[in-house]
Symmetry: none
Subunit: 124 residues, 4 copies
DNA sequence: GTGGTCTAGACCACA
DNA sequence: GTGGTCTAGACCACA
């Protein structure tokens, strides 16, 4: 999976990496148990410092998405055993996005269509 | 409308203010043409630096949600003349939220239900 | 509260800081809502890099013990709303310590006495 | 006795092996004088590098739990001749665990109950 | 000033 | 080689 950094983004680099890996897992480009590039390899590939990759991996590990160990490098977790619910913070973000849509005159249907589209991405 | 700042939030204060005003407009608590408190008044009410409120107002003005004139202070715009579409950045955020939901095992239906709920908030 | 680093310790510096702050909260030397030193101040006081202090604070924040914001600096959280249970990892550690004690011939009573002593430290 | 490695654990493999053997001795699954598998045999059984098993055995030997001789291989010591006291480091760990418990609202009684449970494991 | 991010570079334990 | 830690130093947005 290719990680693409957005250049002028507000989102910090380590968060962008984290986000893209979560998306990769979500749409099936990254399979459970699949090996991720080593900290150094990814750092070199993207052209950033390895501490930054490390930070992204630490975050993903803490969130339960990946596992790191010195024997096997970094791998996507086999099972996520998370509560099947959006975290509160994500709900707040969604609420904000809906507000945004409403104010701008985006209809419920159009918004739903977007959600549909994103939900169907990747593994259908 | 009361602005409530979240204490330990990651979201910067100026952004919180901006977000809550957009939500207020979205759910009808703030009507088109309605007068907003002055920068100084709001700053005092919330107990923060007025530079921060100013920053929020500047952003809202630039986004086309409010307008200021020297005689009438700050008011919600009568009409927004915006393209009825989510900005690209918001779309990206939504995509990320959907990924997050999918990875966590939140179903399309549950996600849709949340969207429904938020869309119906306020002006129903 | 004074943070004391152990020199030759296996425990990484950022973890030592984290541990001592948790102990400080536990025994009442750090009160809910109390202000902690700034990242830079603590770094200088201990004589280490501020990134390391930052790392400790990030961890504490993520665990829900402290709050950081640009207005108020770093503060101990008012309420912890955690599940009143030891995390699995801590239970495993305790199990290991008990094994250690048993093998070495430390009696149940002696072990309990230690626990009592530590439980009574500080706020009695 | 079967050694089970935890996959994504923070605890290094050699330490996991050491810990489990100590627990085995503690709860009676390993008897004084009992023969342990050779380094190579255990390494093969677990599927790891024999250097790692060797490291675990070295540590156990140095701590006085096991002994090796060329003729009889590796065996659990008959008697441990240790001071019946927890090493300082273990005491510090226990102190930290108690802090953790207190901060999280785990009562003295609940903590004691855990200790009881672990003390009673195995040989009752 | 304050927390947060990022880099270049070094070093370490583990495997 | 691999993840992890730490430093010195720079820079940024926010307040």
């Amino acid at each position: 999976m290719v990680i693409m950094l957005q250049d002028g983004s507000e989102v910090p680099v380590f968060k962008q990496i984290r986000n893209q890996i979560v998306m990769g897992i979500s749409d099936g480009r990254l399979q459970p148990g699949e090996k991720l590039p080593t900290v150094r390899a990814l750092a070199e590939e993207i052209g950033i410092n390895s501490m930054t990759v490390n930070k992204a991996y630490q975050l993903l590990k803490q969130e339960g998405y990946i596992m790191t160990d010195r024997r096997n490098g970094v791998r996507v977790r086999e099972s996520f055993r998370m509560i099947p619910e959006l975290p509160l913070e994500s709900k707040e973000q969604l609420k904000q996005l809906v507000s945004e849509a409403r104010v701008r005159g985006v209809s419920r249907e159009e918004f739903m269509a977007l959600v549909e589209e994103y939900f169907s991405a990747g593994q259908g």
